[in-house]
Symmetry: C2
Amino acid sequence: MSEPQKIELACPVPIGQYEKIVMAHGGGGRLMQQLIDQVMLKEFDNSVASEKNDSAVVMANNARLAFTTDSYVVNPLFFPGGDIGKMAVCGTLNDLAMSGARPLYLSCGFIIEEGFAIESLQTIVQSMSQQAKAAGVEIVTGDTKVVEKGKGDGIYINTSGIGCLETPLQISPSMIQQGDVVIINGDIGRHGIAIMAARENFKLEQPLESDCADVSGLVKLLLDAGLEIHCMRDLTRGGLVTALVEISATANKHIMLQEAALAVPDTVRSVCELLGLDPCYVANEGRFISVLPAEQAEQALAVMHAHPLGKGAAIIGTVEAANNGLVTMKNKIGTTRILELLSGSQLPRIC
Amino acid sequence: MSEPQKIELACPVPIGQYEKIVMAHGGGGRLMQQLIDQVMLKEFDNSVASEKNDSAVVMANNARLAFTTDSYVVNPLFFPGGDIGKMAVCGTLNDLAMSGARPLYLSCGFIIEEGFAIESLQTIVQSMSQQAKAAGVEIVTGDTKVVEKGKGDGIYINTSGIGCLETPLQISPSMIQQGDVVIINGDIGRHGIAIMAARENFKLEQPLESDCADVSGLVKLLLDAGLEIHCMRDLTRGGLVTALVEISATANKHIMLQEAALAVPDTVRSVCELLGLDPCYVANEGRFISVLPAEQAEQALAVMHAHPLGKGAAIIGTVEAANNGLVTMKNKIGTTRILELLSGSQLPRIC
């Protein structure tokens, strides 16, 4: 079989052809990549930022640290399976964990809209606190701003985090190798569809909860088991495919996914079919992939299956021989297609 | 002369009596303190957060680090003397410097409103980059979110920062001692009044620029000179008095200010008189106080006067004998008054 070739159907649009920010610039897809590359990274030209990992790995006083930031603008603020506070803590813990770091400290910055209910703020802060305590991290510094009614949307939260890198492994896209397997810790699409259903007041036959969770404890078990993890990535904005496309492009490797290995909850599948969405691009908040040598796959799966957040773990793909920077998916009848970044997102403001 | 006594004219209102967030909750004054104490710190109960320093001092991998975060919602985004990008970098560098840390790394989180001009974003990002490069720090990690038109106000920026503490000094409010002097690096009120004039389209007789600047280089000179600095604080939201009231209350010391020693630019004074504002509560973005032993004051002033951001440095107060947690001001005719936190802020969204 001939190797798949990437055909550029459309030239990437230079950011200069957009005069104004559109929603898709925040969607996690191609337009966001262009904005980051052509506006942010063009100015912030340093080697750490250019790696575009979930966390930056930096040295401070001879300590190897991970440092990350995320702002959360999810709508609605409360949804089945979580709220913006739980997400803001879990998301940043997960970003630290994806670099192999043990999370230590978080900051929180609140931008609150005038008129926001203090009771809701209390609930959100309690969620943050519970989630941080469960992970053994401290929220050590913060900031609160208030903006006029109509200049926000209830509350936006930024969390930044510091973790320490105790593993000697260098975990990043460029480390993936031919013969590696791609393992996911569960099914896909719950968060994005749960958020959309809550936002649009869909009546789902079966209730669906977001998978929002802190996976740093599970990652610690994988590292403690001595597994030689080459790369990890959580599957948030843009979902599974966006994460893999970024990894394959950075590593210039070919990642082949097996469609049959992907678990998609029935409700997620039904809603996606109804609305023409692809669950492979739907955001998750408690799912991540790890890429590691095939000979360690069995051990990795055993560690995952023993943890509540890894019960659905499965091998979903492999790193192939070709250096083509592509992600392909082999479907159930054996044909293969190339997966690419979406232009924007299927669903805005899911995180 | 009898010692000044604090008279509680009004009971502090428990946060529970407010059902909704009001603008004053973000103003830097008493209401914000109550929100932080009764909602945030009540949950995030750890010793580091409770210190309420500009930066948290934490240990990571045996390294002593400073960690801080701030969200910037200033309106307008561009103003004489700076823009939101310059502020977002300078403000976080200053917060790190106030703990005695040398700034190393910054993160940036953008929340951009749909329809925002990409050219403006480019200008803001360039400001951030220039300011970071001038300080020798790297912006190593970031995040971009886009919200619908009417759910933001152009752009909000969060910057978090990490610095390393190389000084053996412990710099915090609790370290101030009787006999210390309070030194400021320049005049007060420029930032707040420049922002208000720009926002309201005031025609000022003499143009006024914000004092927005990165003072971390000046702080480094003070530390390198071996000065035994007990406490530093930048004079942002709530201005000079708010910073000093927080310090005196934490340390339970009496700080006495000399009104005659405070430099207030003519334009700031005129606008304040016209509008009934007190320049001692107006925000600055490039001014800080340092508290250190009186016998080192001369040396500290010499270091400051030799630096562009310290030309106007002056001794403005002293730490007195009484353990009463008060700030008082002696005016030009010798009478003394107690200075307290405002309820909210005189000017919203100045940072």
